[in-house]
Symmetry: D3
Subunit: 291 residues, 6 copies
Amino acid sequence: MGLPKEVLEEKIRKFVEEDVGQGDITSEITVPSGTIVDAEVVVKESGVVAGVKESLIMLRNLQVEALVEDGSRVERKTIVMKITGDARTLLSIERTLLNLLTRMSGIATMTNRLVNKVRRAGHKTRIACTRKVAPGLLYFDKRAVMLGGGDTHRLHMDDLVLIKDNHLAVGGKIADTVKTARNTVSFSKKIEIEVTDARKALDAAKAGADIVMLDNFTPKQAKETISLLKKGGLRNKVLIEASGRITEQNILDYAGTGVDILSLGELTSSTKTLDMSLEFVNVRQRGSSKS
Amino acid sequence: MGLPKEVLEEKIRKFVEEDVGQGDITSEITVPSGTIVDAEVVVKESGVVAGVKESLIMLRNLQVEALVEDGSRVERKTIVMKITGDARTLLSIERTLLNLLTRMSGIATMTNRLVNKVRRAGHKTRIACTRKVAPGLLYFDKRAVMLGGGDTHRLHMDDLVLIKDNHLAVGGKIADTVKTARNTVSFSKKIEIEVTDARKALDAAKAGADIVMLDNFTPKQAKETISLLKKGGLRNKVLIEASGRITEQNILDYAGTGVDILSLGELTSSTKTLDMSLEFVNVRQRGSSKS
Amino acid sequence: MGLPKEVLEEKIRKFVEEDVGQGDITSEITVPSGTIVDAEVVVKESGVVAGVKESLIMLRNLQVEALVEDGSRVERKTIVMKITGDARTLLSIERTLLNLLTRMSGIATMTNRLVNKVRRAGHKTRIACTRKVAPGLLYFDKRAVMLGGGDTHRLHMDDLVLIKDNHLAVGGKIADTVKTARNTVSFSKKIEIEVTDARKALDAAKAGADIVMLDNFTPKQAKETISLLKKGGLRNKVLIEASGRITEQNILDYAGTGVDILSLGELTSSTKTLDMSLEFVNVRQRGSSKS
Amino acid sequence: MGLPKEVLEEKIRKFVEEDVGQGDITSEITVPSGTIVDAEVVVKESGVVAGVKESLIMLRNLQVEALVEDGSRVERKTIVMKITGDARTLLSIERTLLNLLTRMSGIATMTNRLVNKVRRAGHKTRIACTRKVAPGLLYFDKRAVMLGGGDTHRLHMDDLVLIKDNHLAVGGKIADTVKTARNTVSFSKKIEIEVTDARKALDAAKAGADIVMLDNFTPKQAKETISLLKKGGLRNKVLIEASGRITEQNILDYAGTGVDILSLGELTSSTKTLDMSLEFVNVRQRGSSKS
Amino acid sequence: MGLPKEVLEEKIRKFVEEDVGQGDITSEITVPSGTIVDAEVVVKESGVVAGVKESLIMLRNLQVEALVEDGSRVERKTIVMKITGDARTLLSIERTLLNLLTRMSGIATMTNRLVNKVRRAGHKTRIACTRKVAPGLLYFDKRAVMLGGGDTHRLHMDDLVLIKDNHLAVGGKIADTVKTARNTVSFSKKIEIEVTDARKALDAAKAGADIVMLDNFTPKQAKETISLLKKGGLRNKVLIEASGRITEQNILDYAGTGVDILSLGELTSSTKTLDMSLEFVNVRQRGSSKS
Amino acid sequence: MGLPKEVLEEKIRKFVEEDVGQGDITSEITVPSGTIVDAEVVVKESGVVAGVKESLIMLRNLQVEALVEDGSRVERKTIVMKITGDARTLLSIERTLLNLLTRMSGIATMTNRLVNKVRRAGHKTRIACTRKVAPGLLYFDKRAVMLGGGDTHRLHMDDLVLIKDNHLAVGGKIADTVKTARNTVSFSKKIEIEVTDARKALDAAKAGADIVMLDNFTPKQAKETISLLKKGGLRNKVLIEASGRITEQNILDYAGTGVDILSLGELTSSTKTLDMSLEFVNVRQRGSSKS
C-alpha cells in the first residue's frame, strides 16, 4: 500500500493546516526573513524508520536528502534526512513532521520487534495489525506496520468479508452465513469468520471460509483446534488467524501453535513514538555563502 | 476548547470515509436490511471517559443515550452509552467509534492519573500536554487532555509565542528576542521562552517573558532556578514550566520544585487506549416489537 | 457495497454544486416563493431501477416516498418515487437527480439483461464489471452493476492483486511473480493474474494464483484451457475469469465454456441511460390545501 | 470553456483517489522500486481525441509529450501521447487516465460525426448537448462536446433562463413569464422557453424570448413553425432550438427544417468510449541507460 | 441566484470553522453547559436587510424566527430575527453571523439607495455590480446586490462573453472579434464588448454585439454615442452599459444619458456594513421555565 | 501571522474556482492559444501594498517578479509586480488577483494612516482590528492590518479569553468570572474582559485580568478610568483597550487618554480598496522573440 503523491499532499496539507492555525507567529518574529538553514532529522534511540516517503512530501518546498529508506533499522544518532531551505518554512512544519515520522517509526519498530522475535524462534507466522488505528490515520498506521515487516490485514471495510460476533448475533449460523457470503460477495474477496470454539472453527472450514479467526483462544485451545482441522483434512483449505489476548510476552506460545497469522490491535492502538529531533546544523542568510 | 457541531461532523465524516472504503460488505451480506439493534458501549477497565460529545456526532443517524459525561471517572463494566437503530449503520461505524472513544479516553485516563498523583501530594502544579499529538488529531488529543484535568497548552502555532532552541539558534540573545517579540506580536498573546540554565531563566524573566520553560532541568536545577528568581524579585512576574525528562515516576519530584506547569509530550504521543466494546443487547426487525 | 449516509451526502452535494452554479435563476424568476409541488419520477421504458438510495439522499430536504426498491425490475410508466415539497428546491436538482437515477438504472438494466440471458441458458457464470467506469463514479457505477445482479469485481486498486500484461512486461515470470505476491501481500487478499495462452494459465494455477484471467481468449481457447486445467487437477484450485471480446451477442458461447466469471468493461463504459422523467402532479402555495 | 490548472488538479486528484484506495498493491509487489518506463497511449479505432489537456494534468508527475491536440481526428494506431517516468506511478493511474481520455474522446467522436453529417448536407445548424451528463462530469462531458465541434449549451443553471414545462406548470402564461423574466433577470442573460406547439412558439417570440425551444416537434411541425415565424416577421428575432426525438438517423430531417440548433441529450448520456490502450515500449531501472 | 441548502451549508461551515479555531474557549468557561438564551438580532441604523436566508442556515442547530424578509427596508431598532437555543452554540457563531448579515445588508443598502435615486428621477436604468467582489464572496456579494434591487451582471467568467481592453490588446479588431465570438461561443451566451469611443461603439453594434460597454465615458460622451447609435438605426439592437467614473454623486447625470445599465465596482468593493447587534433577551437553564 | 504555501494554495484555489466557473470563455475565444504577455500590476493611488505574498501563490503558474514588498508604502503609478506568461492563464485570474490585492492593500492603507496619525502625535498606542472581518477572509483581512502596522488582536476564538457583555449577561460577576477563567483556561492564554464603567474596570484589574476593554467610553471616561487605576496601583498590571465609537476623526482624543490599544472594527468591515490595474506591456506568440 502507498498513496500517489497528489493524494498524500492533500492528507498532509491538512495535518499542517490544523497545527499552524493562522501562522507560526514565533518564527515570523524571531527568524529574519530569508534565513536559510541546514538541518538534520536525527534518531535518538534505535528502531525501524517509517514515514520517509510521507516526509518528503511534507517537505516538498524545501531541499531534502533522505539518508535512510523506509523500513530500515537504524541505531541511535543516525541521521534520517538532511534538509536545507527557508528557516521559517521548516520551523512551521517541524513539529508536524516529527509527529508523523516518530509515530510511524514507533509503530514500525514495535511491529518489527515482534516479527523478529517470532522469526528467530523459527516460526513463519505472520504478525498482523487490525483496524484499531488512530481515527483518520488508517493509511499511515497500516503502512508503518507493513514497513516493520507486519501484515496490514484489511485496508478498509470493503476488501474482505470478516464476519464477527455482532454479525452472527443477528442470527445466522456459521455454515449458512459463510455460504450466503460466498454466493453474494464478489469473487474477488476472501471470506473470514471469527469463531469462539474449535467446533465452530471446523464448521467454518467445512463451509468454505478462506480464513478462520480464533477469537480469544488460549495457545492450548488454538493448538487443539489445529489438530482437529488436520484430522478433518481441512487444515490446508483455510488460513488460521489468532486474535485477542496476544502480547509481546506470550507471542511465542501462540506462534508455536501453528496458526498462520497472529493479529494484535496494540500494534496501532498503543503506540510509543520513536524519539527523533530536528537539529539545526548551519544558519545563514539567503545569498550568503555556507560557513 | 470544543468544536461546533457542523465542524466536527466534517472531521468525523472523514474518519468514517477512510475506514469504510466503498462500504461495509460484511454487514450487507450477513445482516438483513431493516434489522434494528439495541447496543451498548461498555468500558472494560476503569478510567476517565472522553469522546462522548464526538461520539454523539458520529452516531447522529442513530438514537443514542449517553449515560456518562465527558470527563467522568468510570469503573469496569460501566455502560457509556446506549444505542438503538439500524444494525448495518451501526456495524459500519463500530470500529471507528471505538477507535475514537478508546483513544480519547486513554489519553484522559493517563492525564487524570498524573493530575491526581500531583494533587494528592498537595501540589497545585498544572499538568500540560505539548504539540506532540497524532497528526491530524490535535483537536481530539488536546480535548482529551483537558477532559482528564490537564492543561491543553498551545492550541496551534498562532496562540502563543514560544521561542525554542531552534529559534535562538538563528542568532538572537534571550533578552533582545523577548523584547522584539513583545513589540511585534499582538498584545493578545503571551510570550514564552525555553531556557537551558538558571541564568538564562533570569534573563528571560527580566526581559519580560510571561512564561519561562525550563528545558530538561533536573528537579534540583529547577528548584535552584526558582530560588534565584525569588531572590531577584522575579518569581511573581513569570510562570515557570518544566519540560523534558518528566515521567510518571519522577513527577512528584518535579512538582515539589515549585514550578507552575509540568508538560509531558507522552500524554499524547505514547497513548494506551482505554478498552471498550460495543455489545449487542437485542436484535429485531424494523416494525417488530422489542423482545 | 453501499456508503454511509454522511459520505454519500458529500459526494452528492458536489454533483448538485457543479450543476447549479450560483443558483437556478429560472425557477427563482418563474416559480413563486413558497410554491409546493407533488411530483413523481416515472420510468419511460422497462428496466431495472438503481439509485433509489442515493436519490433519497439527494432529496433529503424534501418529502419522498420510494415506491420501488433498488434492483427491482419495472415496466414502463411505473412510478419510482413520489416527491412533495418546495418547487424551487426540486427544480434545482431535477436534472442531477435524473442524471444519477437514469445512469445507474441504465447500467443495472444492461447488467441484468446479460445475467438473465446467461441464467436462462442454465449457466451459473458470474457477470462482472471492470474498473472501466466514468471517472469519479466508481462507487455509483459498480453499485449499479451489483443491483443489476452483476459482480462488482475490484472496488479499487487495493483489494485484489491483479497482475496484468504491463506488470509482467516489467520482467517477472508468471510463477515467480505469483509466489512473490503471495509472500508479500496481506493474507487477506486474493491474487489474480492475466494470461494470454493456456500454458500460462496452467503455470499460474500451479503457482497458486487464486484467480486466472483469460485475456482475449476465444470461447474455444477458453474451453481447451479449462480441459487442460482439469487434466492437471487444477480446475478446483482456481477461479477462471474470461475478459475481452465478450459481447451481448457471444456471451452464451463464453458462458458455455465453463469459466466462472465473465467480465465486460462495456457494462460501465458504454452506458445507455434508462429513460425517466419528473412529472408535476399538483402545484399549490404553501399553506393552501391540496387540490 | 476550460478550467485553470489548479482547479483541474483538484478534480482529477479525486478521480485518482477514489480508484486507488490505499494504494496500487499489485504494482508495489510486481514492479521493482525505481523502474522507469517509456509508454504510449494508442488509439485503437478512429475518432476525435479529447481530454489531452486533462491528461497532462493527471500525468504531471511524469514526463509527457502530447502528439495529438485536443479536438483532432485520428486514425487507428495513432499515438496520442508518449509518457516516460516511474512505472509504479504510471500503473497506479493508467486506468483512471484511460477512463477519462476514452470517455471524453467517445463523446467528442459522436458529436463530431453528427456535426459532420449535418455540415456535409450543407446545413449550418448547430449540434448542442444538454445537461444530461454523468453526475459530477459536467465539465468534462461538455468540454468533450465542444472539442467535437458541438455547442455546450448551458454550462450550469445560472447562465441562461431556460423555462421548461415544469416551470410553466406552476402557472404562468408564456408571454407573461417571458416578460417577467426579462424584467427580473440580469441583462447579461438570454431567455429561452420551451414550447409544445407552433402557436406557443409565436407567443414566445412576440414576448421577446431570445431563444425558442421546440420540444418533441416532428420535422414537419418544426418547418411549419418556422414558416409561421417568418410570416409574423419574427424569425430573425429569435433563435430556434429543436430538442427531443432527434437521433443520428433523422438528424438531417431536422437540420433541413431551418432550425438554428439541434440538441441531443444522448451526446453525453449514452456514451460509447473511444478505445485506447497504454502500451509499455521500454522498461529499465532508474540510472540505467535507455536500451 | 440563490444556492441550495446543502451547498450553502458547506460554504458557511467554512466561515465558522476559520473563526472558531479549536473552539470558543470564552463561552466554555463563562457560560454554564445547558444555558438557554432567547436573543434578537437588532438593526441599529435604517437600511435594506440581506443575508437572512444564509443566516437561517448558519443557525440551523438553533430555533430561529425570521421577522424580516431578505430585501426588506427596515428602520433602526427593527428586530431581524429571534433566536432561541443553546447559549454556547449561539455565542460561538455570533460574530460570524453578524459579519455575514451586516456585510450583505450594507451592500444591499447602498445598492438600493442608488437604485431609488435613479428611479425617483424617473429613469429605468439598471444599476449593476461588477466582478470586483471580496475574494471568495462572489455569491454573497452579488446576491446582496440583487436583494438591494441591483443587477448581478456576470455570475462568473463563463456566462457572458465580455471582451475588454486586455483582450483587444492581443490584437483583434472589434468587428472581427465580435464575429469570431458569435461563431465560436455557445448560442446560449450574450456577447458584450468594452469600447473607448463612440466610433468603436458603432462598430461593435454593427458587428452584432448584444451589449456595448462604454468605458470611462463622460455623460456627454455617452449621450453622443447613443445619438449616433440612434442615427445608425442600431440603438434597439444593443444594450448599452456605462462603466467607470460613476459615483453616487454623478449617477443621475449618467442615468440621464439614456444608457441601459450603469455598473459600479464600488457596490461590492467599497462596502460599509449595516450596523446590527445580537442582544440577549432572556437567559435560563435547560429544563427551567421561561421567566 | 502568515500561512504556509500549501495552505494558501488551497484557499486561493477556491477564490479562483468560484470566479472562473467552467472557464474564461472570453479569453478562449479572443486570445489565440500560445499567446504570451508581459504585464504589470500598477497602483493608481498612493497607499500601502499588502497581498504580494498571496499574489505570488495565485500566479504560481506564471513568471512573476515582485517589485514591492508587502507592507511598503507606494506612490501612484508604482509597478507592484511584473508578470510574464500565458495570456489566457493571466486573464482568467486577473480579476481575482486584483480583488485580493486591492482589498488587502486598502485595509493596510487605512490601518497605516491611523497608525501614522497616532505616532505623529507622539503616542505609542496600538491600533488593532477586531473580528469584524469579511466572512472567510479573516486571515487575509488580519494580515493586511498587520502589514499596515496594526495589531491583529485575536486570530480566532481560541487564542484569548475575551469576556463580553453577552457572556456576563449569563450571570457571573466580573471578579468571579475572571477568577474562574484563570483557573480553568490554559496558562498559555491571556484573559480580557469588557467593562462598561470605571468601577468595573477596577474590579477586573483587581481580579487579575490581563487586559481590560473599555467599551464605548468617551475619551474623558477613559482618562478618568486610567487615573483611578493608577491610584489603585493597578495601571501596570493590566493593558487597557478602548473599543467602540473610535473614528479617524477622534482617534487622537482617544490616543491621548493613555490607553494601550485602540481597536476599530471599521478597519476590516468598512473597507475601501486601493485602486490598481493590470496592464499589458507586450504581447507575442510563444516561440517568437520579445519585441
